[in-house]
Symmetry: C2
Subunit: 248 residues, 2 copies
Amino acid sequence: MLQPPLHSNRWAASTLRCQDCQARCNSVWGQLEDASLSRLDQQKTVLRLEPGEVLYRQGEASGGLYVVHSGTLALRKFDDLGQSVLLRLVTDGEAVGYRSFFERGNYRAQAEALETTQVCYLKAPLLHETFGRNPALLLGMLQRLANQLAEAEERFLMATRRSVRCRLAHALLGLRDLHGEVDEAGVLTVTLPISRQDLADLLGTRPETIARTTKALERDGVAVFRGRKVLIADLDLLFDEVELGGPQ
Amino acid sequence: MLQPPLHSNRWAASTLRCQDCQARCNSVWGQLEDASLSRLDQQKTVLRLEPGEVLYRQGEASGGLYVVHSGTLALRKFDDLGQSVLLRLVTDGEAVGYRSFFERGNYRAQAEALETTQVCYLKAPLLHETFGRNPALLLGMLQRLANQLAEAEERFLMATRRSVRCRLAHALLGLRDLHGEVDEAGVLTVTLPISRQDLADLLGTRPETIARTTKALERDGVAVFRGRKVLIADLDLLFDEVELGGPQ
DNA sequence: CGTGCCTTTGAAGGTTGTCAACTGTAGTGG
DNA sequence: CCACTACAGTTGACAACCTTCAAAGGCACG
């Protein structure tokens, strides 16, 4: 299997200051006191990833954690042989790699950039120091992790009890916040951040089924799919799809 | 839908001392210092649940967390209408309800006893006090949560990419540690802690499919299903089932 | 012994996966 | 500028797995 390129360890041209970081507000680091903040600022490493570049591969050893400053990462998990699922998309302020970090184990998934993405790398000693000074950070991470667990369980339920059509509608609604825009005519346009292939992986199905399902949704006037643009005239129709769920 | 009985808030007849608790060793509380331990011991509430009794229902407010002292709980999550999945089984030393506790939200699942089960209830103020004195506990919980997240993701992968037959084999192997016994002839017997109904919920399928799949495994000499006893003569055959995975 | 629930079995149908071929697009090099 | 390639996406045919519905069997409990 062809492996995507590993990131080239480029340092970001512009120095990012933690103190000024907008992404920080949405993250567990939001309430950090100044001393710890400047420590982070001094010690962090900034990486810049181009679309398709891989931040880390599944199975590699973890030595810290990464926080997305800007852009989007995809977390992808591989099967014993090749089959993959997209675990989730990670955007500004969110961290990746902390699962492996807290378990002191290897990465259980691969992180790759979907677009040009800047990432801050925090090494283990720095983290231990920071957590030691701010135990409240651990509580914040626990909340994030608890949330993700709830999401993962919800996904399992959706995958096993709902049709692909219902899951696709659900995913579109989920993408609305970050990737949706409403034009003057009141039409919602969701710009998919991922390929059909990856969309299939996200929903736990195959690209062919995605194609058929998008076509069915178009036929029924629920949405129009044009490449990565999805036009939705009537949101209620999407909600109906989720609620009806279809057989299975 | 018929609701199972709520627990009757019986206090356990025997007082359980945290200091002597065996279950504690397998849990995040294993390394707690004496002072905190006796605080826990004084403040905790012990509950005794009979099989089928419900510890808490989905949607109720969380006010602390529960630790299983002995027995087994099932965590069950309900759909918007009735359909349910079994999220996981919880045994000695493990905690339930902490997800909702850390999020300060409502329970996202229902916890019910599969057998006679003793549970210690730790209220929020007690927990905050204990966590405040022992931030290391938070790290322990983070590890647990991280582990469960990894399991949940693995389950999603199994559910979407593997046949029911493969998933059943996988589940049997997973139940081996806690519910398996090897007799003098070298035959492994796994005693299922759950009904077929729940087994279906655990694998994300239907009872009918479970029945058909068990029959198929018997036909092929992989295992013998007699009520809740599963006899497995050759473990390698089970491993083969998992690896082959079958189409889908 | 009857009742009720869980489990099993059967038949039918639908959703989805698989395989193969085709289309469209983007990128490359002549 | 255009042919060529590569690859993602689409379409069609087919099979298989699984769900659904219905009914019968088994087991515990009153």
